[in-house]
Symmetry: C2
Subunit: 530 residues, 2 copies
């Protein structure tokens, strides 16, 4: 498939006129053809208006149609073959195996949501039996289900050009919920975005869906995103990126005449707690797995282990020495963009110059705007508490060990942390009392808690939570990975005394969709219903 | 029980020093003893710190303990007997029957949430079976449940001194979720608030709960509320009141270093659509029921029918004539506070003076700061669309009929409306095609849709939605009435590869809490589990 540099507005292919840009090869520091044109305000408005006008019909599509549509997108992405992988490799410097894995995850996500749409738990179907003879007042017939919010604006992420971009988790869950989607492509991988966008555009046509079901806009800078979030047709926002970017969108969305929910995934250092007996047993083994997790994908994961919290002593020293030894041997990597490379270098320089931080180890270095060297630093609990900025995320292969004198120190360090996507316990059976004591603090601060694993590698499944208290995300009540992500784009509606002719199928007598429904507060499977 | 005028901070009884005030009898325009002292910043801080320190233990209470605690509050409120009813009558001018009914609703809500806590759907227990042999990577053991957000600030509402006040729906659902509560009492009914607060305080002691589980603060003006919403220990806000008040809290909560969710119920005109065949059949009957709903409780309900949308013509004329005739005979009522009375008078005066509005009927009048006369006005669709302020809520027994020339006019009027708590269809079977055409617009704008009823009278049940798009509420994804209200104060946490010794009971092997759980995407009732 040829990459044209055009935006996709409904079924149209539109050459943007608001500034031209090209993708940059981070490895070669060279532009990649063709040029992409940015969206003018009229383009944003057209995409949003199409989405709004298409919503009425898209929301009424049957679960089977929506599921098949999502599966067609998955198949279409696979059908792009090596064109997609090679373009993504050129634009991101991510290796082939990673991108092939990410493509499989992306297709798997779309198919997972097809299954979610068919299974129907997302309807939230809930019925109260009417009590016509109740005194002093009868109870009416009340039935509740979830309906889609409306058009969703989605921002592609730089670090997942497939799985959190044009047809990524946000798009899959919004389309599954019945919401049209307007994607603002990340300017670091516009060609990858166009290829995937054309697959969605074709699937929209194939299934006879309203053309506003999907649009793809380009733009460098903040103008397009701000116009999108400010557009009255947009009813929710999905974003993965920087803390500053997410916060700006959140504030803008709240200041609208009609405030809308923003699901921004922003910033997390993913603390890893090394409990004492685990260190006695496995200091070197933990160090090896830790560094593997730290440098994977040049550290460019939201779940990268950027903070290690351990009790000081001989075992902690063994961990630190082994982790340092391994880091020193790690080759430099190529980051996604020069901007990410600069931010990483600045974060590392800040730690290196910090009076309370010492350098444990530095990986191999390389030249180039996007080159990144692995770093391991250490500090003590008192200093970490005295300098809260030491808890800020440095996006890349850099981590900080916080050495604690006592379990109380570890608890205090946890109490000082902001919200996190993940928290990890490395523990032995003899650490269980301490782990149980720390667990409520971890539950209070993180969306996912791991035992004896590392946080990189996020399973796309039903029980996954990829979310967490601020600033990990802007809304800790949700997840952006896994089947529960669909709930972000739904809201409940109650139907009181509806005649059967108007009743939505999910709530109808005789349960035609064969859903699990809550009846009078108890779950009622389809077999013993009505 | 003697009313002392003291705040309840944990187990303490504290005389507030930041300004004294007394309750006002709206009927007598006279102060009621005793004086109440407002909370100083140190009082707010103490209540919030107690809540934060009590959270760790309160969240770990068993479902049975929390359920019994809620039931003890219900029984305690009933045990206050006539002391409570008489104080509430004096402070609100609401009649005995209404307050006795509201007391029953309040106790019923607490018992409903006791049942919700025991039934356990709120855990959201979800398990993914590990796949240790999967390639290229094994799937870990992933289990998800909901945990409480933390201390919740709750603002008592003026119009429900029991059901949406100190032990009202917000408090019941937050306590059920495992969240400590700090209530800011509404200054219009401080004595009622103290009586109920002492019941909760005693129940906290009786069940050996942390004293920070509940506190009750007083204050006139915005200082106490702002200090509460700005306190770092507070993790969510429940509010029922004015649009300006709710918006101010929402903006403050979003500007915090740690933004928190605000559940503000603010403003709704609750459109009632009169479809043509229903008017042919029942114009006069609809008019009678409509006016009953309009003047109930002096119109001081969030679900008061403040807007009627009808096709013009003879049948509409019959409806208008009959409704006007009945309104003219309605006696004046006494509103809750002089402030509400002034706001109502101003809203009525604005409509009366509006060039595009004519007065249909005026009820009987009376003197006094809190006296309110019923009003019925009319306009046409074109004027309604030209003057958006005609869609603003006027809190009280006042409604506006919008006469439409066509079904397209009706749709355009709906399209121009902001978000609503409710929307109502008065329809006959022959109206079904029109109703079906309008329904998606209603779903998009309202939390509850009624057929052939009136929106006042909100059932407290499982399928209820008392919520809706902005400005009806600040978060359309939630309800403040009914069992789903508990979800507002929960967030999901995922447990990866947890040993059984650390696993929360809701997720443990062999399902010790006998919950309905989702396993690999399907519902698994307790009987066929593990």
């Amino acid at each position: 498939m040829r990459i044209t540099g055009h935006m996709l507005i409904g079924q149209g292919s539109v050459s943007g006129t608001a500034g031209a840009f090209k993708a940059l090869s981070p490895a070669l520091a060279a532009d990649i053809e063709p040029a992409f044109g940015g969206a003018a305000p009229a383009d944003v408005d057209q995409a949003c208006r199409l989405a709004a006008s298409g919503f009425a019909r898209y929301r009424e599509t049957t679960p089977e149609t929506r599921a098949s549509f999502l599966e067609a997108i998955a198949t279409g992405i696979e059908g792009l073959g090596d064109d997609l992988i090679e373009r993504a490799m050129a634009e991101t410097a991510l290796p082939r195996a990673r991108l092939e894995g990410e493509r499989a995850r992306t297709a798997g996500q779309l198919r997972l949501f097809a299954g979610v749409v068919r299974a129907g738990h997302w309807h939230g179907a809930t019925l109260d039996t009417p009590l016509p003879d109740r005194t002093p007042l009868p109870r009416p017939d009340l039935r509740r289900r979830n309906v889609p919010l409306g058009p969703v604006a989605i921002f592609g992420a730089s670090n997942f050009p497939l799985a959190f971009s044009v047809a990524g988790g946000d798009t899959a869950s919004a389309l599954a919920a019945g919401c049209p989607v307007v994607v603002k492509a990340h300017p670091a991988h516009p060609g990858t975005s166009e290829l995937v966008g054309r697959v969605i555009q074709a699937a929209v046509a194939e299934y006879g869906l309203p053309e506003g079901t999907f649009s793809l806009l380009f733009g460098v800078g903040n103008d397009v995103g701000q116009a999108l979030v400010g557009h009255p047709a947009i009813r929710a926002v999905g974003f993965t990126g920087s803390r500053a970017g997410g916060l700006a969108l959140l504030r803008q969305a709240m200041a609208r005449p009609l405030p809308i929910p923003v699901y921004a995934e922003m910033s997390s250092v993913n603390p890893v707690l090394l409990l004492p007996h685990a260190l006695v047993d496995r200091a070197e083994g933990i160090a090896r797995e830790f560094v593997d997790s730290l440098v994977m994908g040049v550290g460019q994961f939201c779940t990268n282990p950027g903070l290690v919290i351990a009790l000081e002593g001989d075992d902690c020293d063994r961990f630190e020495a082994e982790a340092g030894r391994i880091v020193q041997g790690k080759p430099a990597g190529t980051m996604l963009t020069p901007g990410i490379g600069r931010a990483y270098a600045a974060g590392v320089a800040h730690l290196r110059a910090h009076e309370a931080v010492r350098s444990v180890a530095t990986g191999e270095s390389s030249s180039g705007a996007c080159a990144a060297t692995a770093h391991l630093f250490a500090t003590d609990a008192a200093s970490f508490l005295a300098f809260p900025e030491l808890g800020d995320e440095i996006f890349g292969p850099c981590s900080l060990i916080v050495r604690c004198r006592s379990a109380a120190d570890m608890a205090a360090v946890l109490d000082g942390l902001e919200g996190q996507l993940t928290a990890t316990l490395q523990m032995a059976p003899a650490d269980e009392a301490l782990a149980a004591e720390l667990l409520p603090r971890l539950e209070d601060r993180a969306g996912r808690i791991l035992v004896n694993g590392f946080p990189t590698g996020v399973e796309v499944s039903h029980a996954m939570v990829h979310g967490g208290p601020f600033p990990a995300t802007s809304d800790a009540r949700s997840t952006s990975v896994g089947s529960a992500a669909i709930e972000r784009f739904l809201r409940p509606v109650c139907y009181q005394n509806f005649p059967s002719s108007l009743m939505p199928a999910a709530l109808a007598d005789f349960n035609p969709l064969a859903l699990d429904r809550h009846v009078d507060g108890s779950l009622s499977p389809p077999s013993r219903r009505d």
